[in-house]
Symmetry: C2
Subunit: 342 residues, 2 copies
DNA sequence: CTGAAAGCGCTAACAA
DNA sequence: TTGTTAGCGCTTTCAG
């Protein structure tokens, strides 16, 4: 004894108006007399009417949805992005459809296909590197804007990110200012664009201080805590003890902090450590981590704004927004003591 | 010069079959000869056909979507839940629509309404307390199952959670076993069900060891780091120094750790501290935090499974799944030294 | 195994 | 300001 679904037709009939009128009132668009509005609203309430977006979307050829595709929800950084995006999108009235690629290109393609099927109005994405770009093309062919939150797959793309080179330079300068000279760059895989950019910033700072970057002081590895530990160990093996370490990111930095302690040294004092990302843990680690702060919440809000603009068609030129990061100074870096290392 | 949208009709015509046949093939359901399948698949490819879910959903009266509503995406705990849910839902073939209430009942109601409009097949939610329940009723009236990830609003609800009482009891027992006797319960607001349950577990353990829980040793406060700091301070003011603290959650524990250090004491040694949740930071804090681990990823996976079962109608009886948490032992609790406190 | 016909519930034109 | 008429693109009968 299932009651039949209440449609706009029913509401209209109940209110004594036409479907078109009821439709306008439901959406709050177009003209309608106060009288009609009252009656329709009352009828909706009385019948327990629920608007059907599928039908509306089908007819109006727009969905009011935005897809957000991320590669790895496990990284706290993306959780942060989600906050900003969720908030901003809600403000604009979009509904968020989420997809996680778990860093697989195949899965990403499947999700992109699904987003297309749902006729999303736009897409926000942390793209997995290595896609052949065919799916992206399908979006551009249909004029569905995409805003990337990680290195975009091609030049003509909307992108919101952070100035990695500048951030690394700033961090390195901080280390130099503290009197550190044997500065290593540790962790991260060298084929990632951010790795390269940070490396450049690192080199820039050294050169400006008359130091020549030395390959010996650069050790790559997984951008994780354990990656940081082993990278630091091979660094020490191959080049001896540094007096400062610029880490690819905070996770690596936590590993380095640990590895330094293992060697019986005091992180922050004997060896200064700086991270990248300012994840939540950075404020709680011991010592609390000095790090380059990117505010993923800010970037994601800007990304949502940019996407909205492209969706409503304010402008169609690809736009890149590159934010300047800040250095958050905490206890993992102190001035060099003129002790046995001097 | 915009090319017209390619519809299933076009594909069918191109393949020389009827729409119905093309439809069956596209969905991979029902009978179809290999020959027809080949032709349709080829036509789809050639014309660049994209399935329209809005149209399909409208007609078939099902959406293939699941809504996930959370209160506060900023809490790392929910990020973790998202991982599990995203993964599991993807496995079942659902699409995830996300909504964030930012702890506002009004916003939650708005999101619930939207989910209804999208005709979600089911809902996973971290409910904001204080809703009047009208919206929930609309779901049950339409047989749209809801699985709660936090205390459900009523008894007859699907719920996946953790045994808070057991967890707190276990943690307290650990403290007792280490020789601690002046054990405080700190942080969290007493109107939350988890707070009450944990408090019960705390009392259970004390009683079993012949100790009577003393109200003096119970101090409430915001479940945050700063909340932890001030709660600890008022505890010391009102009852003197404890030799152990059971914290409402990890965030509170980090604050307590800090406050202990401020007093010139050594957390873990002078005062043992145990948290609740096992957030990521707990593995990195100093000292690393002993804590009750809930694996929100596991609960969320179970929640997704349960929801799927209710959607496909395996069973309709409300089901509660209460998981036993584990105690993760790290450095923030050590055996009581028989020193000046003895 | 396939096709014809009839809508799903809504909105967009247009005319009134 | 309102109503009429035609679909949006798909799936679902049900008959072949």
């Amino acid at each position: 004894m299932k009651s039949k679904n209440v449609t706009l037709q029913d509401v209209a009939r109940h209110a004594g108006v036409s479907r078109a009128t009821a439709s306008r009132i439901v959406r709050g668009e177009g003209y309608a007399s106060d009288e009609a509005r009252q009656k329709v609203l009352a009828a909706m309430e009385e019948l327990g009417y629920i608007y059907d977006r599928n039908a509306a979307n089908l007819r109006s050829r727009q969905s009011g949805t935005v897809g957000f595709i991320l590669s790895d929800i496990d990284n706290p950084v993306y959780g942060e992005s989600l906050v900003g995006i969720s908030q901003k999108l809600d403000e604009y009235g979009y509904t968020l459809i989420l997809g996680t690629t778990f860093n697989s290109v195949a899965k990403q393609d499947a999700i992109l296909a699904k987003m297309l099927e749902y006729r999303v109005d736009g897409l926000l994405m942390v793209a997995v590197p290595g896609s052949d770009g065919k799916m992206y093309e399908k979006f551009s062919r249909r004029n569905i804007p995409i805003v990337y939150l990680r290195e975009p797959p091609n030049e003509r793309a909307n992108y919101v990110g952070v100035d990695n080179r500048y951030g690394a330079k700033m961090a390195t300068e901080h280390l130099l200012r503290l009197g550190r000279r044997r500065i290593a760059y540790v962790g991260g895989l060298p084929d990632l664009t951010p790795w390269k950019l940070r490396r450049q910033g690192y080199a820039d700072a050294l050169r400006e201080h008359g130091l020549e970057p030395d390959e010996q002081w650069i050790v790559c590895g997984e951008a994780t805590r354990v990656g940081g530990i082993s990278a630091f160990e091979s660094l020490v093996d191959q080049a001896g003890l540094p007096d400062a370490v610029l880490c690819f990111n905070d996770m690596v930095a936590f590993g380095v902090l640990h590895a330094i302690r293992e060697k019986g040294l005091v992180p922050g004092k004997d060896i200064a450590v700086v991270g990248f990302d300012n994840v939540r843990e950075a404020a709680i680690s011991y010592p609390r981590l000095t790090t380059v702060s990117m505010s993923y919440k800010t970037t994601s809000i800007l990304a949502a704004q940019l996407l909205h603009e492209r969706i409503i068609g304010v402008d169609t030129e690809p736009k890149q927004i590159i934010l300047k990061p800040e250095l958050v100074i905490r206890e993992s870096c102190s001035a060099k003591q003129d002790n046995r290392y001097s």
